[in-house]
Symmetry: C3
Subunit: 372 residues, 3 copies
């Protein structure tokens, strides 16, 4: 069996994803959801006319009975004809996912509830709790500065009873250049007072509190997923290099709590090194694989330059469009199989190892790490 | 028609280039002009014996009636035999350029006037005005600190009457780690006083004034080209990462004035992300393609990982040697066609889209952006 | 003759390596020595199951009479059967090295003496003296702060009588973000007083003294090797980008003393630029090639994007395991030959140049640079 075949038949564990839109996006909303852009491009430029859009035309059109590569207008017309529910079932079903590890930290009326996402995918849903969101919910109540730390610990415990992981969006709120050590009680109390005193502390962006919730995540003992690398422009890219986390990774190492670096691109080689030298660090290829489309062969290869194969994790980072799940899964199956086949052909990889590695990265590592 | 054929026949718009030497360089001057080095290497090392030199031997030798890959000594002998005028006409003519967008900010008796460059290339010349140069010309006169800001605005307006773009060399003068916002009138006046008070303010390197002229460029409404990434060693590479421009890009976004990140290597993946998430940001592959020679296939592919195809622009960054125009154009045609063909073969790209994308990157995007 | 054949028969100069273990490592010690990790991974993960481990199974198994790609357990059993001495002779002999430039700055009872390493490899051993080690030996004596600078100069002169190069591990002790200029006598005396006053100054980590010993290395006139890029987690990766050395490289340029940037990954493109624009800067591919295994084709190609071919140097960075020498050499021969063949096939490189470049990078550049 070639690595390609091994991956074709393998139910994938989607180690990091979000909910889909509950309804049908119009063409403009669809185009925005294809990439990380959040405003429309100037006249003459289409966000769909890029690697991620090509990947949708390639991998998703057949699930809607169109030929691979069908023009985007035909694709959207067919999608509208089927309706959002049928399109989601077809697209997410074709992704072949056994589990969805769903970050529930993004909310809004436009998003479908987790159970509906799981039904569309035919997959078991497990929750990933966003650390900052728990603090923000707390701040919406009447907690005071002195009680904040204790209340957060309790709230996080309650929120994660059934969760398989927690997640940090530090990269969006401050950047990854933080001190490694856990902030002391006084510093947390002072920072909480400052933050809560703002009229509407909708967004946790205080660097002390961001470190505090990250350490509370470590204390919880569940794997900690950390957004690193690119995303939308709300983050500063140069501050999202996972190598900047090195002081924190070193400080957290004695806990032995697994840390999963998400996305990583264009700093994925740095992430691979971190996964090699820190026993608790793992790397997730989600978002990147879907966004770079046909270039995923090369980018996955770069992820594999230093990281042990037992530390690499598949995910889609699917969000909003059911297409993002299918593109993430199909492009991964295709590109990772091509990469492994290249190595087998080069004589660098025994075929039996290729199948084994495909199964690890696609599902086995996640099952072990998240206790599925 | 394969993408290769589409690109072979396409007149390219050279979105960023400079003048050529007026006369014939001796072998040492020729060798220095091949790369970004500006001093000779130690004994035993040749600057021509690298990727850029190989690309010259490959792409330029046939234009001088020699076989591709002819040894550099034979090449230089044949070049001398033909004389600089005939060599320039052959080399630049073979580049197949319809327009040259010429940065006129480099001056000197050794450089040919723009019109002569255009004649040699058989191309229409349009001007790109270097923002810092306008300030430096002003400082050579008798402007005072209080009048500087107003005088600069007037001088820039006059200098750009017929221009299609302006250009910033901030990377060479300070680095790209600047505050995003426009400096206020007082700060500009103070900085102008400080700068003009130096005996010979030949070089604009004051960070406040550099930001000021950049914002004046935005106000002009023409596309703003910004040098990013590698160049000669007069810049500090780590300070030329275009991701450092993020605060400025965010601040300039409401203007909707197009910004073109030039060169970008080795930070071209960062540039691709900027082009995806900021509607006004575009990316130019010039200099990089010619300098990396046969590696242009891979580097162009990396440029294409996140950027929409409508945001990518060809240029040669041709300078001094007519060879740099031909190498930039020929290597681009060859490598971009190979990249697109790879995607077509992989099933990732419908052939009709390949031809369309080739035409966009090679000419269409520049025609739209620069109003040609 | 294809580039592959040229490289197969070429005795390589190993421009940077260390001693091997004197005895036989147990499986856990073996696994740790395969990568840059220095603690065991969590249950379910093997450090051998990654690119470097695959490369050992591929390149080393045949030297022990096993088929390429034999499972690691079989490999270790066969290795134990042969005994460490026979295994070392077979593995290092198969590497085909003419010279070992051995960094003698790592000591310990577990390491074999240089002469034994040379015998196992059938190669001539030449010494590379670690600059920081000379200071640390001095501090173990009774030198005072005032006498330190002079004593260091004398000690370095004595230590390097037969050396071919010196080496800096600044990246491990402080990071590469240093001021470029040579520290003055007063600053050195003050720093020496501070450092020597610590009870056991086992480790030179004072930034002033680190710069001082680096400049003493320059004064010695021998090539200065500088660790850059990845290594074990004792360094901070983001501070190991060789581009951070730019102020020092500029300051040291008038000396014309060659500087060799070691390893470089994942900042090897930055290193290639430095080698292009600074006449005295060279780049060594050691450690990287062995660690990335089958990905060495692509990574070597990236090293070759800007650097002149006369500035690129092969080494293994072999250390502890004789396997690291063979993997470094065999993977280099294989991958560099494949790269050159790709260029020949593409029409980018005349075949005669391919053979010449292979000989330069594999041996000729090192012979010239280190005076072998």
């Amino acid at each position: 069996m070639t690595p390609s075949a091994a991956l074709t038949d393998l139910p994938l564990v989607d180690g990091h994803c979000h909910a889909i839109f509950g309804g049908a996006p119009d063409p403009a909303a669809f185009a925005l959801a294809v990439t990380e852009a959040d405003v429309a491009p100037p006249s003459g430029v289409s966000l769909v006319d890029g690697p991620a859009g090509l990947a949708i035309r390639r991998w998703c059109a057949p699930a809607l009975d169109l030929p691979a590569g069908a023009p985007i207008d035909e694709y959207l017309a067919r999608r509208a004809e089927l309706g959002p529910g049928e399109a989601a079932r077809r697209l997410m079903g074709a992704a072949g996912l056994s589990h969805l590890l769903l970050d529930t930290g993004l909310e809004g009326p436009a998003l479908a509830p987790p159970s509906e996402v799981g039904r569309a995918a035919g997959a078991e849903v497990r929750e990933v709790v966003r650390l900052e969101r728990v603090a923000e919910r707390l701040a919406a109540g009447d907690v005071g500065a002195s009680a904040f730390a204790g209340a957060y610990v309790d709230a996080l415990a309650a929120a994660t009873v059934d969760a398989v992981a927690v997640k940090s969006v530090l990269a969006y709120r401050h950047g990854l250049q933080i001190a490694g050590d856990r902030p002391g009680p006084t510093a947390v109390r002072t920072a909480a007072g400052r933050w809560l005193a703002r009229r509407r502390p909708a967004r946790l962006d205080d660097p002390v509190l961001l470190r505090f919730v990250l350490w509370c995540g470590i204390d919880r003992g569940l794997p900690v997923q950390i957004h690193t690398g690119f995303g939308d422009r709300d983050l500063r890219l140069a501050a999202a290099d996972p190598a900047l986390l090195q002081p924190f990774l070193r400080a957290a190492e004695p806990s032995a709590v697994p840390i999963v670096l998400l996305h990583c691109y264009p700093y994925h080689r740095q992430a691979g090194w971190l996964a090699q030298v820190f026993p608790h660090v793992h790397v997730d290829v989600g978002l990147t694989v879907g966004q770079v489309g046909a270039r995923a062969d090369a980018v996955l290869a770069e992820f594999c330059e230093l990281a042990p194969f037992g530390k690499l994790l598949f995910s889609t980072d699917g969000y909003a469009l059911p297409e993002s799940y299918l593109v993430g899964a199909a492009q991964f199956r295709h590109s990772f199989a091509r990469l492994l086949t290249t190595w087998v052909t080069d004589g660098a990889l025994p075929p039996a190892d290729a199948d084994r590695i495909a199964a690890l990265v696609g599902a086995g590592n996640a099952r072990r790490l998240y206790g599925l």
